[in-house]
Point group: C2
Chain length 538, copies 2
């Protein structure tokens, strides 16, 4: 009997944990085989993710190796490419080399959660930082330190101001916790930068509603709002993020906040792997019956954020929280064990025990079993409860140690970059922005994916428009063959999406492809006349 | 008076530290301006880098923020692009956006060290892992965990064996410390992988000489060699690494060791920024006088691994070690202060205090002030000395805590990937290797940068050669438009370098470029006939 679990979040991992206990005998006898497919080999303990920003706990302490939590489950650290519930097969992508794998199942537990999606908001995919995975938290931390370092040596006051502006969009739990940690972090490290002062920094929280933390009772939300404001966070209520460019955040009222650090915690969309399944859906989530099984698909189960579950007692729809996912996992595991061994299946019902939100620096808001708590006591509660819930004794000990050290040691101020990424990036510009400035140096080539730009050159008595470029055309190619300053300014006429490619990437990628090489040789020939060809030095 | 320091290693950072002390008054009065340009905002404490592999100390503990070490120095976290000693200017690359910066100087300290270089060894740049920077240590750690995870679920015994083979090339200090930590780590975590046994794992150390650790006295080197062998490291003496492919290490005797993890600690080459300077060079290093100043270039100083320094007392050439770099930094700082304030310059002389090499798991070898020590005592000495030398009280405390926790807690077994890299990679194949296998799935397109491949298809009674492809041609393009299995096998005829591009990267990069798009549309048309074009779904 093969039980296959998809997803390495709370739902998937806890299903495996419970199945290992319930089916211990069968697994030992080789009658039941448990497998779990997850993109990462660890489970992220989401509540502690914001603390990675300020480094008050170490990077690996927020995550737990799945292998240690469920040692009798075969773990496939792979990306799932296709799920076929009719043929009962799942296709996972390649690990090393080009060999994918094809997994059969008798029982399938779908616990794939949802995904980050910036669809429909121009520029967000390119310029906003999501905040969901561990990698996101690390990237954000690197970005904050990077902007502070750049601001410290920047001489242009407008650019400096943009570098010192941090915008977080979304006033729910995750946005509030992120903005609180971000604000604490920049406040604490400001003194390590020679020319920066805390007062120059601007930390902004955008929230679509009139009061942040809509999940909480009004009095707690108001407490949180007052506290953040007192600590210097600028609250922009009834304001939505409409888009982003490399240089700023666009609000729905047309206002533009110049910033280089825009965090968006709002967007999550149904997982595309899930929405394409031939099952009944409700808002992109799989509808299951009271036993958490997919109707008409015996052996297929869905739990967590990707499942549409009604509470058996209240009839209400279950919210997408970790508390629920963990209980759903237990229920699904028990029902799978009952299916395998024979027995009665249970129906799912659970009422949340409470809600906790950290506000950074020894303050929090909490509602536990109906009691409202705020301030230091709530913060103490927050730390105690989450430390208890953190899986693994070793992690508990490490986090407790980190928290202790954090009381006496200064925060880290280093950027950790592990992979050297290839120099290619997507960028978005709103109409009228300068993409390349005459006289600047730079070694990026730009290819227009959408929109139009105009090329302008300074002349004695003003500016002269040299021409327009559109989709599929490129500019800046002269940077690939020499390091002379830019010979003209290029400005967006409409909203523009470009691909920027640096010199190394150009040579690596393009120079070995004859058609492209020919194209660029000709282009450079036309524009600069007789300059050496970009591939000629290879 | 502007003093500009290039390089964020021991030499550069300690020069700034000493100058801040020596010129305290002048800096406070604004008469002297100190700046330092470094690619990273931290200094790596190299001796502890191998411990990042096993995770016995945390990731950020091996590094110290430069900003905290020299708070009165302006730090530019930038890549240096050009040094002009005649015009007294240094050009640093862009931070955010496309604005580089142009720094003038009165005194210049060049402390740029050397660089990793795999030039001349085929396949090493693509497939060997360097071991010099913090990012390298993290990548290696991720790689080890990744191979163990893949081996755990691999069914093909040959691939499994290759995944469980770890090869380190270079038997000097850094190779020995790396192999020792690697061996300890795989031994400790083996039990966390369901189907793996320690005995199946093979850890190999390649060394060109007859005895490892040539820097140490023979008796210590022999001790180290015996200890490593007893702990299961396979020592291959008098053996050099000749090349690498995705599937293995090539030795100079023609032998091939199938492996997916090849670490090369050997290659370091002069920094190209340094070698192009109009100064007298010796083996790619800048020749300086007894004061560490470049002859005929007053105000230009060079120290550390990029300088060619003779000891004033012994007349011997100073070795490229951290001990020396730190003393050279002090001497250079004192001489710069003397130049600025007036005073006598000193000549440089220093004899190393000793040598220490960790052998992992509570053993080491050391020669301190002429006394040889090995085993546990040397290990204790190693930890004590390096803990004392680690800059910053906060780091000392954190490392001491980590070492304590490491005695009682299991090591971490998670892969930490921060950046999502674009799906493009370079690969190298030796003649006769299979690049794409008929029937496999895969979504990579391959572009041949050098060499020739043949395309083979299975027929009833064996194989049929369909044709040959060469430089600039590509294969696997069908994977970009459908997920059908590979229709043929592609095998290297000669040594082949390819660029592999995945589906997402293809669409991101290529689809918006009309000439390339046309090329692929035509190619796919020819090869598969009337299939949808790769850009059609965009």
């Amino acid at each position: 009997m093969r039980v296959l679990i998809l997803g390495g979040g709370f739902g998937g991992v806890y299903t495996a944990v419970h199945l290992e206990k319930l089916l211990k005998r069968e697994i030992a006898a080789g009658e039941v085989e448990l497998s779990l497919v997850s993109r990462e080999d660890y489970m992220v303990f989401q509540p502690m993710l914001p603390e990675v920003i300020s480094g008050s706990i170490g990077i690996v302490e927020t995550i737990t190796p799945i292998r240690r939590m469920c040692p009798r489950t075969s773990l496939y650290t792979r990306v799932i490419e296709k799920i076929d519930v009719e043929k009962k097969r799942v296709w996972a992508g390649a690990g090393f080399g080009a060999r994918g794998c094809d997994l059969g199942f008798d029982h399938l537990v779908i616990a794939l959660g949802n995904v980050t999606s910036f669809a429909g908001q121009p520029g967000l995919a390119e310029h906003a930082l999501p905040f969901k995975y561990l990698g996101d938290a690390l990237n954000l931390r690197n970005r904050i330190i990077h902007t502070l370092e750049e601001a410290d040596i920047e001489t242009d006051p407008a650019i400096r101001r943009a570098l010192l502006t941090f915008v977080v969009a979304g006033g729910g739990f995750s946005g509030v916790e992120a903005v609180a940690e971000l604000n604490d972090f920049v406040s604490r490290v400001a003194k390590n930068f020679r020319s920066l002062k805390r007062q120059e920094m601007r930390v902004v929280l955008l929230h679509a509603g009139g009061l942040i933390l809509p999940e909480l009772p009004k009095s707690l939300a108001e407490f949180a709002q007052r506290l953040l404001a007192r600590r210097g966070v600028e609250l922009r209520l009834n304001t939505r993020l409409a888009g982003a460019t490399a240089e700023g955040a666009l609000l729905d009222n047309g206002e533009r906040i110049p910033t280089r650090t825009l965090v968006s915690t709002v967007p999550s969309a149904p997982n595309p792997l899930v929405t394409t399944l031939p099952c009944k859906m409700e808002r992109g989530r799989i509808v299951v019956n009271g036993h958490l099984e997919v109707p008409d698909r015996p052996g297929v189960w869905a739990i967590g954020d990707c499942a549409w579950i009604r509470d058996a007692k209240t009839g209400e729809q279950c919210p997408p929280t970790a508390q629920h996912a963990i209980r759903e996992a237990r229920c699904a595991a028990e029902n799978i064990a009952a299916s395998i061994r024979g027995g009665t299946k249970k129906t799912f019902s659970f009422q949340a025990l409470g809600k906790l939100g950290s506000l950074g620096h020894r303050s929090a808001v909490a509602e536990v079993l109906g009691v409202k708590v705020s301030g230091f006591l709530a913060w103490f509660l927050w730390r105690t409860i989450y430390l208890m819930k953190l899986p693994g004794l070793d992690r508990k000990l490490r986090v407790a140690t980190d928290w202790t050290l954090d009381l006496i040691l200064p925060p880290d101020i280093v950027q950790l970059k592990t992979e050297k990424s290839i120099g290619i990036r997507r960028e978005h510009f709103e109409p009228g922005e300068i993409i390349v400035r005459e006289g600047d140096r730079g070694d990026w080539l730009y290819i227009i994916a959408d929109g139009e730009v105009e090329v302008v050159r300074r002349v004695e008595d003003g500016h002269q428009i040299l021409g327009c470029l559109g989709r599929g055309e490129c500019f800046g190619e002269i940077a690939l063959i020499s390091d002379t300053p830019r010979t003209a300014t290029v400005r967006s006429k409409t909203g523009v999406n470009v691909l920027a490619v640096d010199r190394d990437a150009f040579h690596t990628l393009f120079a070995s492809l004859p058609p492209l090489r020919g194209f660029f040789e000709q282009l450079i020939e036309e524009r600069v006349g007789g300059a050496p060809t970009p591939g000629a030095d290879r």
